[in-house]
Symmetry: C2
């Protein structure tokens, strides 16, 4: 029973037959859960949760006690690498992540260190080891990182941005040092993910949160090229010796799926704006697809949620290669009962896709 | 000479032969211009500029004195209709538009009035008449409105939003009253644009700033359907008796161009994320295309700007049916000299597309 459960997520990513569509949720360990909010309040800050392996492990496991999710995802932040590079990550209430020392010059890029994951990011690796041990094989553990481009946006803008004025000004004025930064970040991300794999991550996902803000030409050169470079350097599963499943997610990347499907990842994450059926016909048999219900659907009544889950499953259609997820992270304020309705609907409706 | 100049914008929208690609810029009358900032400071507020026809006319004409743009666009705001419906529009520095009385209930939707453009929005019509007279046939005047969906987002969220939590919660929980609101807004937008046409607007553009945040299914039902309904009710040119050229722009709508091309508009606006060459092959001969250089390119050196202009023109390729523009509005802080470099590059490189 446990073995079957633990495999359907991996099998779907590798487009092997499954009995039902696996389901997990971006930000499944998060503020919509009262037990998360309680632990977060006790810890004092979000970063205290991330940097304490016991707390990170506990938070990772919380949603799995409530819901039949088919994967756990490491509780951490996409910006741990720039923090370890010395930029000083902190979180401002309702404003998201900020860096104390954002990048301003090409000289600063040159002197940026590439962190050794087992030293400067040891707390992440300890969390991965602890979570993996505690999961006890029940469901696979997903490790993750921000994409080089997305890390660069925060490092240069100093936080979230709407216009990406600083990084684009830099990119258009001095593309050479932008490429130098992205190469360094690709090195750091590859090392970081390989350390997570060595520590026990059984699949990895790259979050390219801001690639969708680029022109097609710039996306290919400044975002996808470096995501591909990371992929090429990922190590094999230390136990099985094969490639571990990999997921690449560019929010707003729906226009570029054909090219993304050739970048070596096992699966592409889709946000909710992309039609899953069209996406499948565009990528063919090259990759699995993960997604993509609008997270805001979870504010509706369970009956509406069930219908929307059914629509997503029908849009994908028959056969393996689909991991059910939201199109972006779940947001605070959603009733956990509604998540339960979503998971039950996937369980109820998806077997029809696999007969 | 004037006649030729005034026609190339209209001709390109109707896919008739032109000698060079026409160019204008979203937000061409705006904060990047020192003369705009001076008048804005004197007026005291953005809304004072909009509601005073003489000031709106002056601001509309300012960029045309500097640059060889091929169209003027009415200086106004996309949110004049909800303001005229009684929601109380005001602008908070660095936070964008806000409504004092956002919509909360279906009952409020039912009691919303549909404004008579020549009464409650008379200041807009007076501005259109005054601008048209002052333009003296030199370049055509574009009128515009927000799309029903985009107006609804601001009316319900009360301002700008990242997650659109309130409107989506409403849309998923009570789609019937959401449709009632959008129908009423489509009525109001059609009346408003027809009044602008009667007052002298020679082309109209619909800005669907937030349609790109919807799932494909929801975009078709809640945004595009109402944009189409507006289009169907637009009146003919009062002088010539033919259809006036119409442009529909959904920011983030690059995935849906094929369907948008069937909605009756003469042209589609493209943001900078869409490849113009691919877009052209997808829409075929059904519509013209407007766009789509990343506005952030204008922060780069003139030499870089020239190369990026050339790339956009090359991506479109030979033949008429292209109006050069940015992929979104120009932002404050850009040197007007850089806009000049862009316009000159369009003039220099585009004739090769029309030989």
């Amino acid at each position: 029973m446990l073995a079957t459960k633990s495999h359907c997520f991996i099998d779907a990513l590798l487009r092997r037959p499954v009995q039902r569509t696996p389901v997990w949720m971006m930000r499944q360990a998060g503020r919509y859960l009262p037990e998360y909010r309680a632990l977060r309040a006790k810890a004092g800050s979000f970063m205290n949760l991330c940097t304490n392996p016991e707390l990170a492990c506990e938070v990772t496991l919380q949603p799995l006690r409530r819901f039949s999710f088919d994967a756990a995802i490491l509780f951490s932040d996409i910006l741990t690498i720039p923090d370890a590079m010395g930029l000083g990550l902190h979180f401002v209430e309702n404003e998201g992540p900020k860096f104390e020392r954002p990048l301003n010059t090409a000289a600063e890029v040159n002197s940026l260190p590439v962190p050794d994951p087992e030293i400067e990011l040891r707390y992440v690796m300890d969390a991965v080891r602890l979570i993996r041990r505690n999961l006890n094989g029940e469901v696979p553990l997903i490790g993750f990182s921000g994409s080089p481009w997305t890390l660069a946006t925060y490092m240069i803008e100093g936080g979230s941005s709407r216009s990406f004025e600083k990084i684009k000004r830099w990119m258009y004025s001095d593309p050479r040092s932008m490429h130098a930064l992205l190469e360094k970040l690709a090195d750091a991300v590859a090392l970081y993910l390989n350390a997570q794999i060595a520590a026990g991550a059984e699949a990895v996902m790259i979050f390219d949160t801001w690639g969708g803000n680029l022109s097609t030409e710039d996306y290919l050169m400044f975002s996808l090229a470096y995501a591909r470079s990371v992929r090429e350097r990922l190590s094999l599963d230390p136990e099985e010796g094969n490639q571990i499943p990999t997921i690449f997610f560019t929010k707003g990347g729906g226009q570029w799926l054909e090219t993304m499907a050739d970048s070596g990842y096992s699966a592409l994450g889709l946000d909710w704006t992309t039609d899953l059926g069209l996406a499948r016909s565009r990528v063919g048999n090259r990759v699995a697809l993960q997604g993509n219900m609008d997270p805001m659907v979870l504010f509706a009544e369970p009956a509406v949620i069930r219908e929307k889950v059914r629509t997503v499953l029908e849009r994908y259609g028959k056969g393996s290669g689909h991991v059910f997820n939201l199109g972006h992270g779940i947001v605070p304020g959603i009733d956990p009962e509604n998540v339960q309705a979503m998971v039950e609907a996937v369980h109820e409706f998806s077997p029809a896709n696999h007969r």
